[in-house]
């Protein structure tokens, strides 16, 4: 037991004191924030500036202004001058050459039958962004709708707008009394993704550690002092503790950012400026007024953090056994690809299922995926924010425990066989023989 303690401590301490560990830990929140920022920036950047010529052969949505001698929209408020979208109108289309020579990016053609077929063809030199296409479609539909309201209903458009009704669905779980299932599904997916990354990254750490010991030729000295099983177990636990240390640091960092950021926002006037309240709000009350953030207050954070820790330990241990055996079966990292690809398929599948379960977090796929041991650690995280029964957690944890034990037995046999073998890469047949050998 003492030797195991020394191995665990060495594996943990040599990694935790590396600069790369601290840099990685601090970079994770920065990278997450950065990736969200980049995606927002890219989305906004995707809407390119577009000058659109609307050819209204139908005469339904435009008119000729005698004074200014230009064609203008009949209802200008249907075509607001956006910063990235500019409309011009004409009764006749341009020829291809004239269009290419002009500064127009798009030419939309409204023919006489627009009211019958409800479709308009557009021409371009460079295809517009989807968001641009959606904006033009919406503007044109609004103009036609306005024409129809006046012609068929003989209604003032403002009256029509008042009559028009849309219903917003607001869900509430009858057990948890929580709303915003989508927000909670997103939170679940965020933790699934984090767990997927951590399990794979630290599993690979185990594999690299074993390969390094083989390459450095230190393994024979170590194996002469401790059993291969002790070495493998110590390595897995030590590296797993590095992962848990990182989780703890991230949780502390997250809390610090939330706490310090909240106090800073309270002290500034930003909260008051972005809410309808006339009095100063604390950070939590401000979040409750924001529809996009309110669900964060509904999440049971202590439960989530505990679940992440528990499922990381279980999932990591299960996959680390596989990666340790892979490390023992090869001489160098490039050879390991042969085995890592099949080993990565179950966590990858779990990640993809977790992503697809955002749409339907309580569907059959999510439920069965959260019971199956190889996918359970990642999949269960998508379900926990939605609320799961205790027996379901026990089934998942029990399944992972049994699977981990079987994998530990199998891996230790391959590890014992492979750790002192150099100069060859194991074939699948060798691995099978290793599994069957007793010593």
């Amino acid at each position: 037991m003492k030797t195991l303690k020394h191995i665990i401590y060495r594996e943990w301490s040599t990694r935790v004191r590396r600069k790369a560990f601290w840099l990685g830990t601090l970079l994770i929140p920065a990278l997450l924030a950065g990736s969200i920022g980049i995606s927002v920036w890219m989305n906004s950047g995707a809407e390119k500036e577009a000058k659109v010529l609307v050819v209204d052969a139908s005469g339904l949505i435009s008119r000729f202004d005698d004074r200014r001698e230009v064609w203008l929209p009949t209802h200008p408020d249907c075509f607001p001058e956006r910063s990235k979208l500019m409309y011009r109108f004409a009764p006749e289309a341009m020829g291809d050459d004239a269009f290419l020579a002009s500064d127009f990016d798009l030419m939309v053609f409204f023919d006489d039958g627009i009211l019958q077929h409800s479709s308009a063809k557009y021409y371009y030199e460079k295809a517009p962004a989807m968001s641009t296409e959606r904006a033009i479609s919406s503007d044109l539909a609004s103009a036609i709708e306005r024409f129809k309201v006046k012609r068929d209903l003989e209604l003032d458009f403002e009256t029509y707008k008042r009559l028009k009704t849309s219903i917003q669905l607001v869900g509430e779980d009858v057990v948890t009394r929580d709303g915003n299932a989508t927000g909670r599904a997103l939170i679940g997916f965020f933790f699934s993704a984090l767990l997927f990354l951590q399990i794979v990254i630290y599993g690979m750490h185990v594999m690299r550690g074993v390969i390094e010991e083989k390459a450095n030729r230190i393994v024979e000295v170590v194996i002469s002092v401790v059993t291969p099983m002790q070495l493998m177990t110590g390595k897995i636990i030590g590296i797993g503790l590095v992962g848990l240390t990182q989780f703890a640091l991230l949780a502390a960092l997250g809390w610090l950012i939330y706490f310090a950021g909240g106090r800073w926002l309270e002290a500034s006037d930003l909260l008051k400026a972005t809410s309808d309240a006339s009095v100063s709000l604390d950070f939590e009350s401000w979040m409750a007024t924001q529809s996009g953030l309110r669900f964060l207050l509904d999440v049971n954070w202590p439960l989530m953090v505990t679940a992440v820790a528990v499922f990381f330990v279980l999932g990591y241990f299960m996959y680390a056994c596989i990666f340790a055996a892979i490390g023992a079966a090869v001489d160098q990292e490039s050879d390991a690809q042969y085995y890592t690809i099949p080993a990565l398929i179950p966590p990858m599948l779990a990640y993809l299922l977790a992503a697809s379960s955002i749409e339907n977090p309580e569907g059959d796929l999510s439920i069965y995926g959260s019971y199956f041991p190889l996918t359970a650690p990642i999949m269960m995280m998508t379900r926990i924010p939605m609320g799961v029964d205790g027996w379901e957690l026990l089934v998942a944890i029990g399944g992972i425990g049994i699977m981990s034990y079987l994998l530990l037995l199998a891996s230790s046999r391959i590890f014992r066989l492979g750790i002192l073998t150099r100069g060859k890469r194991f074939s699948w047949k060798d691995l099978w023989n290793g599994l069957r050998s007793r010593h």
Binding site: K2, T3, H6, I7, R10, T14, R18, E213, N216, R217, I218, E220, V221, V222, I223, S224, V225, V226, T227, L420, R422, H439
Partner: protein, 316 residues
Amino acid sequence: MEKGAALVIDHVSKSYGPQKALDAVRFTVPKGKVFGLLGPNGAGKTTLLRMLNGITRADAGSIAFFGEQLSRRHLPRIGYLPEERGLYKTMRVGEQALYFAQLRGMKKEDARAKLMHWFEKLEVDGWWNKEVSEVSKGMAQKIQFILAILHEPDLLILDEPLSGFDPINAQRVRSTIQEMSNQGDTTILLSTHDMGSVEEMCDEVALLHQGSLVLNGPVQTLRDEARDGRVQVTFRGTVMQFTVALGASAELLEVTSDAPRPGEHTAMLRLPSATDSSQWIHWISGTVQLTSCTEWQPSMRDVFMQAVKETSKVAS
């Protein structure tokens, strides 16, 4: 179990698939001696050393360690310097030395004190806080040697301990091994291809070839037993004169001209078994001008080569 034996290897066999690595090997390592385990590459030495360290198990046979059946509980009493050795590159020298000492069951403070002693003795002090990646190969070899002997094992297994050392450091390590042997508390099992070291350090040897024991016994006895009536003579004059004078009295095996000095020749002869060598020397010295005449003493290298050659001949 033999009394006074550090190890009794009794009909130990091991196979890897169809390949027999060890075939009913049997010999005894006396307590407190330096015992050489010799053999060409692939003879089964490493397999046997790994068995002694509990890394692999024998398919058949048994190994006794100071009168008890060898098991993992004896491992803390064994020191091992394998041929394939290395250190963790990203750890500091001192920290790594303490780690291995603790793995072998030593207390941290005892280990630190002993490490300081050995670091000073083998001139590694000053490297305690350096990372292993900054240390030269020779320095790393010395650290590995210290790690094998630090816990004062009853049995010290050294697999090619001098490989990679410059002559000065090789001599320093050789002296340390001999000092330990002279104190008599440690039995040293030395596996090496360096026959000079075997002659210098080993009391007894076992020679393995193709998984079988070929020779076993005290070094001097084996060298004596390998004598085959060969005589080495140095003479002046011409080789022709010498050959004529020799006639049928001896078989001329080899002549080296102008050796050891210009104008002198060295010849290797084999006398018939019934020949009285002193009478023959008296007779031949009246015929040619002899400067020296000695009975040929085979080196351990000769013993090794001859034994391997003969075993290979039998096997083919």
